[in-house]
Each structure stands twice: as structure tokens, then as C-alpha cells.
Amino acid sequence: MRILLLMIAFLAPDASDPWTWNLPKGFPKPRVPADNPMTVAKVELGRYLFYDTRMSVNGKSSCATCHKQELAFTDGRAVSVGATGESHPRGAMSLVNVAYSGALTWSNPRLKDLEEQALTPMFGEHPLELGLREGDGFVPMLRADAKYRILFEQAFPADTDRFTIQNVTKAIACFERSIISARSPYDRYHYDRDDTAVSDSAKRGEILFFSQHLSCFRCHGGFNFSDATVSENSARREIEFHNTGLTYAAPNVGIYEFTKSAADIGKFKVPTLRNIAITAPYMHDGSIANLEGVLDHYSSGGHDHPNKNPLIGGFKLSTQDRADLITFLESLTDEAVLHDPRFSNPWQPAVSAR
């Protein structure tokens, strides 16, 4: 009996277990809030919460409803739909490498911590996403659930009352930060120097992508293919948002929604291009169906707008160029992150509705 107990104690994750990032070369350590250090136990609790449909007003939705692993944690829709069927004005962003995001959501320059962001889908009413309300049955459910009693104890052993919304958001944030994509064919080519990892077409596409002529890299540069990228060692800075010549009907007015400065109308965050080939449709409002359409948009230069980034001026592409660029973008798909059991639904079907 004593041996069995020792074994259980040995196998169970503990809050004191240090988190190992296992980052490949070229990837810096993500920035983590001082009051929510990564632990194995919090990541695991966060995974259970992320996939739990009891975290919605009617038991129909979880975080994973709009952030599906097989779609690089997007939902394949132009705009997302909440638990009660209400449409969100914007599309679900990928959570892959969200730990490196200098601002969260498409257009909120003030929202920088995942712990804070999680409150919006949980409790937001306009639009209603998960539809939780203060004083509803969610926290009592956590307290009563045998699995959660173990997971919360392991994740927050020092807390007298572990079952708090704050701890829920801390755990979900830890899980989200753990979702790192760094093993795409492009990474094997670029960082591991494996010339066979991508095709010649992808290599030509890479050169086009990083050319002055197209200047894709000016916004989608760096290891995460987004200029909104920060990490543990980057200087504190305000990230830039860009108007790319799309259409900006209310409520999709960009960071103007928060700054109320006319110069900010239509300025949205630059999303990562990692796994971009499987996260259609594109743009903040899902208005472009496929990558060919995105190339059409940027090669045409988009609509005129006083705030449009001067880099969006249009360019000419041959048929070969287009194919090469798309092959390059496809090489950024990391199949491992789409199927990694560490990021998958931990619930048995009997426990969770989906």
C-alpha cells in the first residue's frame, strides 16, 4: 500500500514541477507574468478547462469550440459563433504561439495578458461567447467534480480557496502558453538546415516573401512571422497595428474602438503566419476565403484609405510566383502541433459533450 501511494505521488504532476519549454533553436523564451509562472500542473488543469463544455451557459461550448486543435486552434469560420448562436464580428485567432503575442485579440492594444483575455469569452455579453455569469453554477461544478478537486489541488496547493475564477484563468493561460509550434517543414529547412524539408518552390517563395518588392516580411517577419511578437528578452514596447486596405465597417474599426483616434481606424494586429494554410478564411472578418484571395488583395494594393500602411501598394506576380508563395506559406504548417496529445482533449466522451 505504501509503495502504491509513493508511486501515485511520483507520477502525479505537482505544482512545484518546473515547466520545460523545449524550445528549438531560434525560439526565445516566452514572456510569462510574474504572478502566474508556468507549472506542469497548471498547464494540465488548463487543458481540462479549455476542453470542458460545462464552462458555458448551456453546456454546448468550450474554448475549444472556436479554437480547434486540428485547425491550429481556429474554427474554420469567417466569424465565430457563441454558445447561444450569437455571431462574433471577427474570426477566432489561432492560439498557436500565442505566448509570444504582444497584444491579444485582433485589435485591443491594451489587452496583453491571457489571464485577463480569458474573461472576455467567459463572461462577455456583447457578443455572448461562453455566457458564464457571476454566481452561476460553474464554480460550484468545479468544486464538486472529483477530477477538478485533484487538478486544482495540484495546480494551486497553497491556496485556501482554490476554486476561483482567477485560478481558472491562470490555468487556461498556462495551457495556452504551452501551445508552441516550431517544427514545420520550414523550421527544419531554416533552423535545422535540412535542404530536403521543403521544395524548391517553397524556397523560391521564401525569397519572394522576404523581397523588398513584396515586403511581406516587413509585417510578417521574425521567428513567429508577426511584428506583434514579444518574448522574455524583448524590450517592453507597444506593438504596431496596421490598416491593410480592407473594408472597416463598424464594429470592425480596429484599434480605433479603444483609442478613438481617427488615425487608428482600420488598424488590426498582424497575425502569425504559422499554420496559415489551415486557418482559412482570412483577415479579421474572415472576408477572404483562401490564400489565393489574400495574394489577390495584397497584389492589388487593397482599397484606398488614409490610414493604409504605405507598404500596401500592390505588386505584380507571375503564375509561378503565386504558386511559389503559397507553397512557402504551406511549409509553415506544423503537423505536430495539430495532433500533439499534450494539446488535445483530455476528457473521455462520457464526461464532456464534445
Partner: protein, 159 residues
């Protein structure tokens, strides 16, 4: 100092493996056609670059000053009078080009440690970066850190 490496590269090139020769031409007494093995025999230097996203990379290569000296550009005691009208045009595979005054790299003037790099984190530059590139560690913007560098042309405006 933060330096965002932004810049240039060749476009629409039919092949991804370029001829690995760096031409140093123009108004110099000894034009050079440098291969990786020639660069390997010259004095090697490394420059660390930190990017805005927090990553750091180490570029290795030969100082532009060293290469220009070997080509016979008027540096040191020769950099006086009309020689001070000399500039250096760095051209990339896609014809992108940027300019430096020769005095920028001279020890008695700008003394800028501009590097002609052929390695990044110990590995030869390839793809959209290589085989040669410039690294200008004191430029705040990256636009003069030309990638896919093919030609360094020295032009003397007044002779």
C-alpha cells in the same frame, strides 16, 4: 542597441542556390571576386544582433573595412582630399542597393563596424539571407543590412 534586421533580398530568382561570389569592383586598384574560402582566410569577426522580438543572432564574417582595404579603396592615410568623395554601393541579387560613404567605415572617421557576413549562428548563410549579407549593427533601421549581397561597388566622385 536594438536592430531590426529588415531588408532586402532577391526577387523572382529562378534558382535558390546563387553563385557564391562577392564582387568588389569600381574605382579600386585590386578588384576582388571573393568566394567563401577566400573570406575564411581573412580576419574573422562576429557581431551580435538583438531583434525586437527578443531573439539574438550572431553573424560572422569579415569587416567591410578589411575587404575595401584589400581591394585598394583609399582608406587610412589615403582617405583625404578628393578621396573623401568616395562612396560604396552595396547591391543585392534583385538590384536593391544602398550606399555608404567610404569614410563611414574608416577608423579615423565613422569607424563603423559594418560586417560582410557569411555565417549566422555558425552556419553558412543560405536562402533569402545568403550567401553574403551586410550587418550594420549601429543602424537603427535594418534597410542597409543588405541580404543576398552580390556586389560592392566603389565610386570616386572626384578624382
Amino acid at each position: 542597441m536594438l536592430l531590426r534586421i529588415v531588408m532586402l533580398a532577391g526577387i523572382a530568382c529562378a534558382q535558390t542556390q546563387l553563385a557564391a561570389i562577392l564582387n568588389v569592383t569600381g574605382d579600386v586598384s585590386s578588384p576582388l571576386h571573393l568566394k567563401a574560402e577566400d573570406m575564411a582566410k581573412m580576419p574573422r569577426e562576429t557581431v551580435s544582433v538583438k531583434e525586437e522580438d527578443g531573439t539574438s543572432v550572431q553573424y560572422e564574417g569579415v569587416m567591410l573595412r578589411e575587404i575595401l582595404t584589400r581591394a585598394g579603396a583609399p582608406l587610412g592615410k589615403s582617405l583625404r582630399g578628393k578621396a573623401l568623395t568616395t562612396y560604396v554601393l552595396a547591391k543585392a541579387h534583385d538590384d536593391y542597393a544602398v550606399l555608404f560613404a567610404l569614410a563611414e567605415v574608416d577608423a579615423a572617421f565613422g569607424n563603423e563596424s559594418i560586417l560582410v557576413a557569411d555565417k549566422r549562428d555558425g552556419k553558412p548563410l543560405f536562402g533569402y539571407q545568403g550567401p553574403f549579407r551586410l550587418v550594420c549593427p549601429n543602424d537603427k533601421a535594418g534597410a542597409r543590412s543588405v541580404r543576398m549581397l552580390e556586389t560592392i561597388e566603389i565610386v570616386r566622385l572626384r578624382k
